[in-house]
Symmetry: C2
Subunit: 392 residues, 2 copies
């Protein structure tokens, strides 16, 4: 007899809070996402406490719900903005443009002009062609240069899509000066859900060398480090505590900058801010076998890859999943409700379901507050996008 | 010097038609999808001509645009329906329920009841638990049994998500009788964009054996074969002609059934009906290098995996892509506009871009009429879903 859970529920959520969510969702149609704002408040405070030297720019894309953004506005957060659509949302919510950065390296010139017109003066860049647009559309603005990091050890890995190698970063700094922009800092991203804190050590070592080069060779005083996101949420794979991450990162900064840390240190949490705040409430549609004797039954849920769980691609993100009922459990394969054969959640990762579970039972997918609802397809197979509620 | 294209444009679209689409899209904001209904009409007629013995059930999920569905309604098509949301759409468009099947093996009992109440009497199944629901919610209906096929050779491969092995199919047929349902036929799906026609041979061999078993051992006369979809659209990887597929499939049917073919043969084309009808019009946002000397520049388009091109996952579907301009071309990496590092279109597959291409140029992604627009995320990174237009 195996237990259905890899870890006790308390690793992810208190029993009291879970019971409140279940009660709140009781009369709601499934699937739906329930967001608990108290958790976001707590995560914001934990980040402030553990990294008091860092300015928080919340990565809006992680969960752009108005209620989430408004709460973080009131808590004093700044915002990492990916598109003009997000900019419009933030302005509508009364957030001042000096609390924003345009954090996407891929920008149309007309979108840069739009950000500039609205008052945003802080931009990421990673290419000469992008600097060229910035020089015309956002003259005199602060720019920071994103380094290429590959994010080994991250559950949602990076690629070579963003950033430049250090040699090109030197060129970009020189070019920014020539273009009348203000070279302001260096950014990197260690990879989302990065479980190897050593990645910050490697990146910060490169950053400190770039600060030295900029000062000594280019006569440019950089003032800022943007360490990106990457701090983990609580999925099934265990991670170190935020306090441990913070301690290590402080040491890496001391290694590189001694007592002369840069004026401004920015972090861009998304997953670590919003992930733990959400629970997707789903229902078992079917429990099926492919043969008369089948070791692993297929359990079909009413939410899948196209309804908000796209990060189960390659089983990258392993959400904690709780069924109703207790007692002896069996290994299962979990899949979504669409007619697409790739809409399978977990086939290789071991998930267990109590033998007593039945069709129609509710299923709770924890730590689904980030990178879920806004990824939903608009109507693939006719399914509407995942509905979300703020827990009251 | 290499040519930018793997194949001449005429493999995918006539120059005249392409020029019309470009002219129509000229004043439209990018990205957008342009659908040419004439192509869908032609594809429908080609399928009828080449497979005159087959009843067409269009797979609505491939492209659920009202204009597409209405055209196929007028041409006399039947419809493979995945969800009650699609059912509602088809009823709204005045399509009679006797022209529909509920083609998803994963169904809630209340959804079956909804289909039954609306008059649908043809249902797929692949498990005892699903039959149990059908017996209660759709009493006396025709059911067909989906076989498990794994779809080797398909560009968008199957998995073990759908269908049952033959031994279980026998049990399902017996159970259907016991439950008062009408065992009507056998279905399989060879895998989407299936380039190996031999897959139909393997599946039809199993189907013919099941017909024999049903008749001899179970005293059940099955009447229908549903051969699913799988017929290809024109992507970069070449495929046999539809005529060749049709010839081979007729021979496979003769092998299994001699002169006594089943009464009804159904196909469920989706990709082969709608794929070639669409062109996504996009724009180059940036052309960037990661190092001072970079062999393969990164070309960022304003459409990507979350804006309708999710089937570029693992570079499975290789769309023909045409740039403005001519002349010497370079190998490029193509990526989408979001802040997600996995939003890369093609990094391993060779795509070429004329050296003369510039930021702001338009880019045309052909054969994007199926499994694109309806997959778009609702607002990931704030981007709105892909807009689509019917070519006038």
């Amino acid at each position: 007899m195996k237990d259905q859970y890899h870890f006790p529920l308390e690793n992810f959520i208190t029993k009291e809070r879970f019971d409140r969510i279940k009660a709140f969702a009781k009369d709601k149609e499934t699937p739906c996402l329930i967001i608990d704002l108290d958790i976001i408040r707590k995560n914001y405070e934990d980040l402030r406490k553990n990294l008091p030297f860092a300015k928080i720019f919340y990565a809006v894309k992680a969960n752009p719900d108005d209620a989430v953004v408004s709460l973080l506005r009131d808590l004093g957060s700044n915002f990492d903005v990916a598109t003009r659509y997000e900019l419009d949302q933030l302005l509508r919510l009364g957030i001042s443009p000096d609390r924003m950065s345009f954090g996407n390296t891929i920008k149309k010139e007309k979108d840069i002009a739009y950000f500039y017109e609205k008052g945003v003066r802080l931009y990421v860049t990673d290419s000469i062609t992008d600097l060229d647009k910035l020089s015309r559309a956002a003259p005199g603005s602060k720019v920071f240069f994103r380094l290429l990091t590959e994010g080994l050890g991250a559950d949602w890995p990076l690629s070579k899509k963003f950033g430049s190698h250090p040699d090109l970063a030197r060129q970009l700094i020189k070019t920014a000066v020539r273009f009348g922009l203000e070279p302001y800092g260096i950014s990197f991203h260690p990879g989302s859900q990065q479980r190897d804190v050593g990645q910050w050590s490697t990146a910060l070592t490169t950053v400190s060398q770039l600060f030295t080069w900029a000062r000594d060779d280019l006569k440019v005083n950089l003032k800022m480090i943007n360490m990106g996101g990457g701090f983990p949420a609580n999925y099934i794979e265990p991670t170190d505590s935020l306090a441990q991450y913070a301690d290590d990162i402080k040491r890496f900064l001391d290694n590189g900058f001694k007592n002369d840390w840069p004026e401004e240190i920015i972090i861009e949490p998304g997953r670590s801010m919003a992930g733990d705040s959400g629970v997707i409430v789903s229902e078992i549609i079917n429990i099926a076998k492919k043969s008369v004797h089948e070791r692993y039954p297929w359990v079909f849920l009413d939410v899948g890859k196209f309804g908000g769980l796209i990060e189960t691609l390659d089983e990258a993100i392993k959400y904690p999943i709780y069924f109703e009922g207790e007692g002896p459990a069996v290994d299962v394969i979990l899949a979504g409700p669409t007619c697409d054969s790739m809409d399978i959640l977990y086939e290789k990762t071991t998930y267990m379901m109590p033998e007593s579970a039945r069709i129609g039972d509710r299923v709770y997918i924890l730590t689904t507050g980030a990178y879920t609802q806004s990824y939903s397809s608009i109507y693939f197979n006719g399914f509407p996008p995942l509905k979300s509620y703020i827990l009251k």
